[in-house]
Symmetry: C2
Subunit: 303 residues, 2 copies
């Protein structure tokens, strides 16, 4: 087991889905990632919160033995995102974004975080992602997420970042935008030429497609009959992915990375079953193992 | 090996995709299905063609030992569909539909077709699908496809039809329309209560999801780097599915039906690599076996 460092957003989200609404509920990539990864390893989280941040929300991480020393508390409000999902649960429509304290976020790692071996750079400005990597001494595995906004506005920073990371974990729209082609099969193959050893494309309810070392690895999502809110599923996936690998703490092996994708899927399948981190924070290891067994049944086939 | 009966459309399609255009190219569900299934078993095809139908297009089926005695040739033009795909290759936009001779199609089975054990009712008016079933003596496995037009206009005929069939093979949009819910996981489970022993949902580039006997079976599509035209992929899938099962010619076993879904995927992956039936008509059995081995590598994982 080796500790995982995550840098990302901490947010309050207001979300409407066909099944209901959550108002100012806990969100942000760093929260989803941490809670997911904490089932496997110890997590260190770096982010920024406002003076409105509830101690009970901090406790949600601390109850999972997640180190929150890297959370900067500054005057002002916590980042707030408002979005809705209409029929298509695969695509969020942004209604409002208030960056608040996130606007001037400059990630500074506490001294004791700098020896982190597993590093996940959730979706923030690629310049800041570079700055985080500059502070880590000798990471063993670095993963990165991004979004279309940075692909459009900071492509050079992003491209130089991709030369420093092992795994790119992004969704289908981001794959298409980055590789500038509609065919995601061709695109993720192309993106491995840009630096990362593996590209993991998250496909929402359809699962994932990975390309690494000349091979595709593709599997579906766990079938969830009661999807309530897909927000955070991608970051939860990344948490399961990093959690699995950091728990192993062994050298890169493609078979392990494949298994990490499956754990990403499993963890994400819990998150979508409720609003905010409500389902995720209740999951325990026996539930993960039970779902893993069910998942293997769903994809089991003769050769 | 047992013979397969298919009833469906025979068409000339004019199709534009981001990669090019095909003008009045051979299409129609019965053609895609037959060519696909003919790699496994003998196929008997029922449909209607106009007096413009090219003998060379008839020869495409006959070269594969497909019996075309059930094709009615009547005065007038063959059914013509014009459509385009924009960036999203998963969804066709219809530009023009000329039913022509298809408008008054009344499927009549030649006497020697009536003992067919495997029957696929491709997407036509559910009243006509009923009429076909009435003519078959004792089918072993009946499958049916439909479309939103019939779901909206002839739901009662469709519902009574579903009580007479073993397998419903439809796409995601049709699943949602039929079950009247957005969550396809819940929807295909619900649809098995309407009659069919198995519901197979085709998900285009994402593969398929099946529900049968209280179990989900889900796998991705074979990753195609050069998708040219997805038209006919669903009917090609059905051809591989029925082809596999009719070649086995054994009693219903869920494990066989799962394997049939994989063969559906494999066959569909050829169709999308060129316009019309161009790629499909060139496929031979060694190519299917080669792709099957590659597909198993793509989905292979530790337990």
């Amino acid at each position: 087991m080796s500790e995982i460092l995550v840098v990302g957003s901490i947010a309050y989200d207001t979300i409407t889905t066909p099944t209901g609404k959550a108002d100012h509920a806990l969100g942000g990539s760093a929260n989803y990632f941490s809670l997911s990864a904490s089932l496997y390893s110890r997590v260190r989280v770096v982010g920024v919160i406002g003076d409105d941040y509830a101690p009970s929300d901090l406790a949600k991480l601390e109850n999972r033995d997640i180190c929150t020393k890297g959370l900067q508390k500054v005057p002002g409000s916590t980042f707030h995102w408002e979005g809705k999902y209409e029929k298509d649960m695969n695509e969020a429509i942004t209604l409002d974004t208030q960056l608040n304290v996130f606007e001037n976020f400059n990630p500074e790692l506490p001294e004791e975080y700098k020896d982190s071996k597993y590093v996940f750079l959730a979706n923030i400005d690629p310049e800041l992602q570079h700055r985080v990597l500059d502070q880590v001494q000798s990471p063993k595995l670095v993963g990165v997420d991004t979004m279309n906004f940075w692909i459009d506005s900071k492509i050079d920073d992003l491209k130089s970042l991709l030369k420093r990371v092992d795994v790119l974990l992004i969704n289908e729209g981001e794959v298409r935008a980055l590789a500038n082609t509609w065919n995601t099969v061709a695109a993720i193959k192309e993106l491995t030429n840009w630096g990362p050893r593996a590209v993991v494309m998250k496909r929402g309810e359809y699962g994932f497609m990975m390309y690494s070392e000349g091979q595709y690895f593709i599997l579906p999502a766990y079938p969830v009959e009661n999807v309530i809110d897909p927000t955070g599923a991608g970051d939860t996936f990344a948490g399961g992915f990093f959690g699995y690998l950091s728990k192993l703490n062994s050298d890169w092996k493609l078979e392990d990375v494949k298994q990490a994708c499956i754990h990403g899927c499993l963890m994400a399948s819990f998150t979508v079953q409720d609003f905010s981190v409500n389902a995720l924070e209740k999951v325990d290891w026996p539930q993960v193992e039970k779902r893993q067994a069910l998942y293997h049944k769903v994809i089991a086939h003769r050769d």
